[in-house]
Symmetry: C2
Subunit: 308 residues, 2 copies
Amino acid sequence: MTILAVGTIAYDSVETPAGTSNEQLGGSGVYFSLSASYFSNVTLMGVIGKDFKGSDISLLKSHKIDTSGIKTSNGNTFRWKANYNDNINNAITLETQLNVLKNFDPEVNVEQSNSEYLFLANIDPKLQNKVLHSMSHTLKFSALDTMDFWINNDIAGLKNIISQVDTLIINESEAKQITDEPNLSKAAIALSGMGPQIIIIKLGEYGVSLFASGFKFIIPAFPIENIVDPTGAGDSFAGGFMGYLHTCPDISENALRNAVVCGNVMASFTVEDFGTKKIRSLSMKEILQRFNQFWELTKFERDFIKIK
Amino acid sequence: MTILAVGTIAYDSVETPAGTSNEQLGGSGVYFSLSASYFSNVTLMGVIGKDFKGSDISLLKSHKIDTSGIKTSNGNTFRWKANYNDNINNAITLETQLNVLKNFDPEVNVEQSNSEYLFLANIDPKLQNKVLHSMSHTLKFSALDTMDFWINNDIAGLKNIISQVDTLIINESEAKQITDEPNLSKAAIALSGMGPQIIIIKLGEYGVSLFASGFKFIIPAFPIENIVDPTGAGDSFAGGFMGYLHTCPDISENALRNAVVCGNVMASFTVEDFGTKKIRSLSMKEILQRFNQFWELTKFERDFIKIK
């Protein structure tokens, strides 16, 4: 079985204090799939233009990503241009060319509809909704990511899809914006009141927090001295999270905790180089090593004290 | 043996979204001492005015804090007035009345000079320097806190005292300001190049990170739904950290990790009510309980994966 993911496939141009990267493979669906591919099989749904490079399809295929759900439309691939020079943690969008994304209409075939895991990466909530409703009763776990654009431009559509998924994965600023709640814990409670049983709030350079009905799990980010390009960190998180979870016998508390750590680890790799450069070329040994380094970074003894 | 601490003793007036608190006991030395007192004996050095309330001295004494190092001078006690309405994580200082603090000259007696642990809470670096140089060769561990005021007004004096202590405890924004380094890990490396073997950077609502030569330790904050007043959280952190460390047989890596967690726990209590209200009235049972809750919040299995 594979994870079905729908999201954007893009050519990104970004400028960061570390340099520039032009017209490089990106998009929420791509980062998610590459990251998840280290753990599980992934089927990616999305749309590309006639300009999409064969070498980029080959890259996805080399990660055993099923690309049969990728449509090719007349026109150019979606493009995004951004600048991180003022603040490495906050992209300023300079230009968005929707191109073929404008008329994208995902169609889920029978095999895809029988997937047990579904990830709705950032894309129009209407498309996320269509894909979710195309799934069969075999669906076991669904998760959703989004971005501030949809909060500002289709909050009704967004809330509708949020109400139907098991897990919402969202940035801190977006969580606070949707709920109008400046306190993180309260924002999580409010989001959980909208439907999802699990709320994952991404804290960027400060880590990530998971709020479930029976427990909370909060961890810092893995410290990276040279953040080259944070693009795709959130989608890489989601990929590590879902990819790992999919390998677990069930969606237990322990599985969710480890899945969050895996997501965290994958995101920490992504930011170390431009675009997908790092996340496309990892070994399982490197991933395991960083998982263990993260364990060392956060461990402490439960045994408390011999107090005075 | 006790921990010797020098710092401010104040009457604070603060306004937060949760309400107001007028002319209440505060100051870096007070928060530190109250917090540390749950773990160790503390001798507090500082200055108060003739207006200082007997009930506040009694409060310190009820925590077995040695107040013999507190001088009473002619004039009023130091006062600080601030507003957190715009941002609960960032105080806007409205008024500072130095009063008796202006001419404070700490004098360390022989017994105090033989303390093994010294905490230099936020106060004029010249006074911190004087106290440090008054210590005898029995001193085993010294730590320093400061604030942006001294970075802006006496950076030379501040760097001088930083170069002489074992541990620097500092806010994230201050760490980045001193080093002119926006990346947290790099800021820690730069600070450690100034002298201290251990750099602790407080991340406010995002937790705390410790950088030592052989290891790093980063943890999130304990999530608090209703932050009433963040005043004193940093000093309470330092109190829990030093107070716990002082109970350990040696300053090992494990001791430092647990000390950071204790500091974190104590800070999480402080913000739950105005001023010292919460930190003055805890039980060891509550502290242990929250330590264990923090363990649950951050724990995950080291055993990784049965990957595809």
